[in-house]
């Protein structure tokens, strides 16, 4: 494992992947937004909601030291189960890990970066098993309750690696704009 407190700052990306319009598929963007609001990080930590980038993932995680990627995963577990994998399991396909439809992009992006010599030094996947990925449905209770556990795990992983990440004294209100329920009123409140 590279670096620690006092070493040269690591470039870290906390990336959320998934489509916010499709219920629990939006777990990745939810997790990174909740993380941003609960924790404060140093300038070398980028927090990115990338939606469903496919192969366009590569430029965002190019040459990072650490990438933590939050996404809905299709594991043989109960909905809401939190699954943490390391990137090698994904690349070597040892893990019976089936990410969502964006999976091809994740794996191919990593392969390409590795070949080009710019792969992230370490990749960790924070996954949750979705309950329902219906259009405009919002999050199911199981995924919503797991997301706060997921957020604390992201912080733990950063702290363990000596990366500057502190709990905010005053949490920021998460901007989960896509859940704004009353449609015609949502702008009036902006």
């Amino acid at each position: 494992m590279k670096a620690g407190a006092g070493a040269s700052p690591q470039r870290t990306c906390v990336v959320g992947i998934g489509n916010v319009l499709l219920g629990d598929d939006g777990f990745g963007p939810l997790a990174v937004e909740m993380f941003r609001c609960k924790y404060e990080c140093g300038p070398n930590v980028e927090i990115l909601d990338l939606g469903t980038p496919g192969l366009d993932l590569a430029p965002y995680i190019y040459a990072a030291d650490l990438v933590i990627l939050a996404d809905a995963v299709d594991a043989q577990e109960k909905p809401g189960t939190l699954c943490i994998y390391c990137g090698d399991e994904l690349l070597a396909r040892q893990a019976q890990l089936r990410l969502t439809a964006h999976d091809p992009g994740v794996r191919e992006s990593l392969a390409l970066l590795r070949l080009a010599g710019h792969a992230p030094a370490e990749l960790i996947i924070i996954g949750v098993v979705p309950e329902s990925c219906g259009l405009g449905k919002g999050f199911s209770p199981s995924v919503l309750s797991t997301s706060s556990v997921a957020v604390d795990n992201i912080a733990r992983l950063l702290v363990e690696r000596g990366i500057d990440c502190r709990r905010r004294h005053v949490p920021v209100q998460p901007n989960l704009w896509w859940l704004s329920g009353e449609r015609s009123e949502s702008v009036a409140s902006r």
Binding site: P53, P59, Y62, L112
Partner: protein, 565 residues
């Protein structure tokens, strides 16, 4: 590679499934089916039109900005609202950066391995490769040392048995015909392309506030604050960064990508004969240079039956004939409804039946232009540009023809462009045209700001009565249109007719197949268990969906199910 099949309602990128029947080495019948529901527009109903773009840019993960732009243009069209010139230029620069990025990614990451046989790179002579590359272009990434380095990487990859990461590679396929040296050159650029994807993203990030989901869009303009003396706004520093990034991208587009597309065309001349398809083309004008969008830098038009001489130009976005011509047919799509519906009256009520060869078989509707299926995309843009005498399109198309002929390839005419290889070449021509227009629009923006104009936004006013609007954008994959109905200040209908809807269209009520389906007829297939040639033609359209390709023999037995990325 694993593929997840969940209920069609669940995944937005969608899965395109191509079924082909092969007999005597050629495709006899083809079906294009999108296995995912596209009713995403229903999420817009009842929403405030000013925030529509925030949702539409989540339609698709890869083409985010294009849906943001089409949405605000649709609302502005409904309001007949002009936007300030600065807003046009900033939007144009974002669109150009995104398009160059998209074309580069398509050529190298999404389709190069249909033509490049990676293992043969081990047999290449890097010195010879460098001298070949030098003779056709002046790209700095072609040095002997860099090519040697790439060859060493491939050696390492093969030695460690990791070549399998390129799951869509058909190594050693008889249809692979590049020399080891050309394989090495193209593969080197495949790796270098990554750096230019990043630069284009940075342009979008600087101007759009964030990437991939831009934050600066607004109905009425853009939200960029312009103040040359402020650090927190769009100032000379940031404009300078944008200019440098565009200038750095230009040589890669013109000297690596464009030249590689010519090399590919010269090496695979037979692919100018396959994949023609319908030869009906639609492109809309884009890159407006004035507030009213009366002058646009990219021409639009309609070509039927491949006849460039009788092209009907589309001068601007107010073109009434276009508005009246588009209708969507759902005879073979999993929706309720009878007869073709104009998008403003369009409905999106699902009617799933399972895959029926002669019945309904796709979640994609069948858009038609006066009843004709139309191909959209860079080939349409380039043919329309060529037919209109658009100087930049002519310049780069003629340059491509000359290069291919001097590389001992075929002597091409615009007619030959109507083919599988023509689509690849057209995309590279379009990227080269855009690389020049990028600098032009940067100049327009910075000189307008230096004149003292800092306006970026005109506030919209919504009437109580019902209004309709059409937002057009010539996106990397082709004509994109958002059709909106606004009633009492909220959306009461929203229909997006996206490029892949045109191209992946199923049959219509007359049984006429869509562009993918048509272009695959008579496509060669040397080995039905490895339908590489089918992928080449499907990939030539730059399908935006991860897709699965099934090959059947004449008796209907499934031979192979192949993942297409």
């Amino acid at each position: 590679m694993a593929r997840i099949s969940i209920d069609p309602i669940t995944r937005i990128e969608g899965h395109l499934r191509i079924d082909v029947e092969v007999d005597r080495g050629a495709v006899q019948k083809a079906w294009a089916s999108c296995t995912m529901w596209r009713g995403i527009e229903t999420i817009l109903l009842g929403r405030d039109p000013r925030e529509g773009w925030i949702f539409t840019q989540r339609f698709c993960g890869v083409c985010t900005t294009v849906h943001a732009i089409a949405s605000v243009r649709a609302v502005e069209d409904a309001l007949q609202l002009e936007i300030p010139p600065n807003a046009q230029y900033i939007r144009n620069l974002i669109l150009i950066a995104h398009a160059m990025h998209d074309h580069i990614v398509h050529f190298y990451q999404l389709s190069a391995l249909d033509w490049v046989d990676v293992p043969t790179i081990l047999k290449a002579d890097p010195a010879r490769a460098a001298s070949i590359a030098d003779s056709v272009g002046s790209w700095e990434g072609n040095s002997h040392r860099r090519l040697q380095d790439v060859q060493d990487k491939v050696k390492g990859l093969v030695a460690s048995g990791q070549l399998g990461i390129f799951s869509n590679g058909y190594w050693g396929h008889p249809a692979m015909r590049l020399s080891p040296e050309l394989n090495l050159i193209l593969f080197a650029h495949y790796l270098q392309a990554l750096d230019f994807q990043r630069k284009s993203n940075q342009v979008v990030g600087i101007l759009g506030g964030k990437t991939p989901h831009i934050q600066n869009m607004a109905v009425g303009g853009v939200m960029n604050a312009i103040n040359l003396n402020s650090l927190a706004t769009l100032n000379m520093d940031r404009l300078g960064m944008v200019q440098s990034l565009l200038q750095e991208t230009l040589p890669f587009v013109q000297q690596a990508y464009f030249v590689d597309a010519c090399l590919l065309g010269a090496s695979y001349p037979e692919w100018f004969r396959y994949g023609r398809g319908l030869a009906n083309y639609l492109a809309v004008p884009d890159l407006p240079v004035d507030a009213k969008a009366t002058q646009l830098d990219l021409p639009g038009g309609v070509i039927l039956d491949g006849d460039l001489g009788s092209m009907r130009p589309i001068k601007d976005w107010r073109d009434q004939a276009l508005r009246a011509a588009v209708a969507e047919d759902v005879t073979h799509a999993w929706y309720q409804g009878e007869g073709p519906q104009p998008p403003w009256q369009g409905k999106t009520d699902p009617d799933y039946t399972d895959f029926q060869d002669g019945g309904k078989y796709s979640w994609v509707k069948a858009p038609r232009y006066n009843g004709h299926p139309m191909e959209v995309g860079p080939l349409a843009t380039v043919l329309v540009g060529y037919a209109s005498g658009h100087p930049l399109t002519r310049k780069w198309t003629d340059d491509a023809f000359k290069r291919i002929s001097s590389l001992r390839g075929p002597n091409l005419t615009p007619k030959d462009m109507q083919s599988t290889m023509g689509r690849y070449l057209a995309r590279a021509i379009r990227a080269a045209v855009l690389s020049e227009l990028a600098l032009k629009h940067w100049d327009l923006l910075s000189s307008n700001i230096l004149k003292g104009d800092a306006t970026t936004y005109n506030a919209p006013q919504f009437p109580q009565q019902q209004i309709t609007g059409l937002g057009l954008h010539e996106a990397p994959r082709g004509t994109l249109s958002h059709w909106v109905v606004i009633d009492k200040g909220v959306f009461s209908n929203y229909q997006a007719v996206v490029p892949s809807t045109w191209n992946a269209s199923p049959r219509d009520q007359k049984g006429v197949p869509g562009p993918y389906e048509n272009s695959l007829l008579a496509n060669p297939v040397a080995d039905p268990s490895k339908p590489l040639e089918v992928l080449r033609t499907v990939h030539s359209f730059d399908p935006c969906m991860a897709c699965a390709c099934h090959t059947f023999d004449a008796s209907g037995r499934e031979i192979a199910q192949v993942k297409v990325l």
